[in-house]
């Protein structure tokens, strides 16, 4: 794990207006995540965990402050620049997999590669590699409806890593899975962090899931509290 931060939030404030009330989510939040880290973010509902992921993924912008990820000040990028930046640097894993139902596993994994300059043969090779990493090479031609929840989430992980991004953002990746499948997915994320050096930020409610991370950050009332370090 490198000491250089891959993710850096400096003085980030974020809020929203609900009716006549202005609600603050973060107030001058600072955060640094070094490259190669695996961070679990926990906290009560409404504490801003998903908003944090949105800020790190360039999906949302801070009201004030700086968000620097993979060397870019993403809060200063335009929408078009953010799209290209996300395609190059970020892999997303969602709670409900969010696979395209009309595409096969291989086609789903190939989607991010349509945004690259890779040729057909190279794309196919990358897809095979990603599916092999998640142990689903034999399911390449299966549609999501033909796979279990755990398998679908593995396809989603393959899709997230196929373009070799530096940062994986996982939003409750095991929230819709049974314990066995959840452990399988978490083991896979841990291996991606350990063996391939992927930096992972994972939002979860599940303390058992958080134990797979190197450290856990508790988010409450707009501030972080580092409670434990995993082995």
């Amino acid at each position: 794990m490198s000491d250089l931060p891959l993710v850096r939030l400096a003085g980030v404030s974020k809020g929203f207006v609900k009716g006549k009330d202005a609600i603050t989510i973060f107030d001058k939040l600072d955060l640094a995540i070094p490259a190669g880290d695996f961070v679990a973010v926990m906290g009560p509902s409404g504490s801003g965990k998903s908003t944090l992921l949105n800020l790190l993924g360039g999906i949302d912008r801070p009201d004030t402050g700086e968000v620097q990820v993979a060397g870019s000040r993403i809060d200063a990028l335009s929408e078009g620049e953010l799209s290209a930046w996300r395609a190059a640097h970020i892999g997303f894993v969602f709670q409900f997999y969010n696979l395209m139902p009309m595409l096969t596993a291989a086609q789903n994994v190939e989607l991010p590669l349509l945004l690259t300059r890779l040729g057909k043969a190279d794309r196919r090779r990358h897809v095979e590699t990603a599916l092999t990493i998640v142990n689903l090479a034999d399911r390449a031609k299966h549609y999501p409806r033909e796979m279990s929840g755990g398998q679908q989430q593995r396809v989603a992980i393959a899709r997230a890593i196929v373009s070799d991004p530096e940062l994986l953002l996982c939003d409750e990746p095991t929230g819709d899975l049974d314990r066995t499948s959840a452990d399988e997915i978490l083991g896979m994320l841990k291996a991606l962090n350990r063996d391939l050096g992927k930096t992972i930020v994972m939002v979860t409610h599940d303390p058992a899931a958080a134990r797979y991370a190197r450290r856990t950050l508790h988010l409450d009332k707009g501030h972080f509290e580092e409670k434990e370090l995993a082995a």
Binding site: I59, G80, S83, A88, N98, L103
Partner: protein, 386 residues
Amino acid sequence: MNDFLLIRKNLFRKKLRAILMIVSILVAFAIFGVLAAFERAFNAGEEVSEADRLVVVNKINFTQPLPIAYFNRVAAVEGVRQVTFANWFGGYYQDPKNFTVVMAVEPESYLKLISTEYAFTPEMTEAFVRNRTGALVGEQLAAKWGWKVGDRIPISSSIFSQKNGSTAWDVTIVGIFGKNKPQADTTLMLIQYAYFDETRSFGKDTIGWLVLKTASPALNDQVAKSIDGMFANSPYETATDTEKAFNKAFVAQLGNIALIVQLVVGAAFVTILMIVGNTMVMAIRERTREIAVLKTLGFSGGRVLRLVLGETLLLALIGGTAGLLLAWLATRAMSQSLGNFIPGLSLSPGIVAAAIGFMVLLGLATGLVPALNAFRLRIADGMGRG
């Protein structure tokens, strides 16, 4: 995989819905193709009309006769370069259902005047002039009945009869002519006016209409006024107009074809626009989360917009092409049975080009709202996050 595969897979993810939308568009374009082919066929005369040609008809109605003496008097009007005349024969071959366009004409002047649209060889012109019972036949009509030069055939009239009571005139085919302009109709027969006039039982020395060529299109108004003024207050007053206006008025007898086409096609298109547009809005709304996912993966708003527009364009092109194909088959079948009444009934390249233009417009119009919605969608909103 590429964007086209993504578009195609999205379009056919709900097969029944896609097929129903395609069928709606197919019906609209089939109607468009057939009606446009009819409109074009009806207006073919207008398209071949010459700017310096005038037509002189009876002021009451073009079905009323004019005295043949008008021929020489019109020829003497200043600004008239050539003049000829014709008489509607109301012809059919063997059976009244085999309607055939037959006109009794003054051979020399008539052939000279219409030689811009029809290809008459000097040999057939000479043979027609010299043979009082001779007939010139257009190549489509000759092909239909297998006629050839030298054949002697009886051609009947549904209007006139001979002095001996017969309604059939025997004519000898002395030439088969082609055309110089693609819109010209070659399903007609020309016979000698002199032969027709001396044998018919009534209407002797009258003609249907005069066609003349002016020295210049700029003289058209002046010549028309002179002719109509010359015959004013006579038993046979005339109405002189350009050939284009005459042909247009002739078509107008059958109703305003263009208006019918525009109304029917317009109604069909607006209905389909609403159905397909609404269905696409619903379909894209169902996919809000997927669009947000695409954007999360790095698909730009513009690319998502193109994917949605591509879907509606593909839909319009599939349905429209199938509709045009159906229209082509229908017009082919109809041209065989209605060819004598409505010559030139076919899907022209112009109609196909217009239809393709309409397909693109339909695709863009139906896709615009859902595509813009997808373009504007905020990822956080699409993913169901506040």
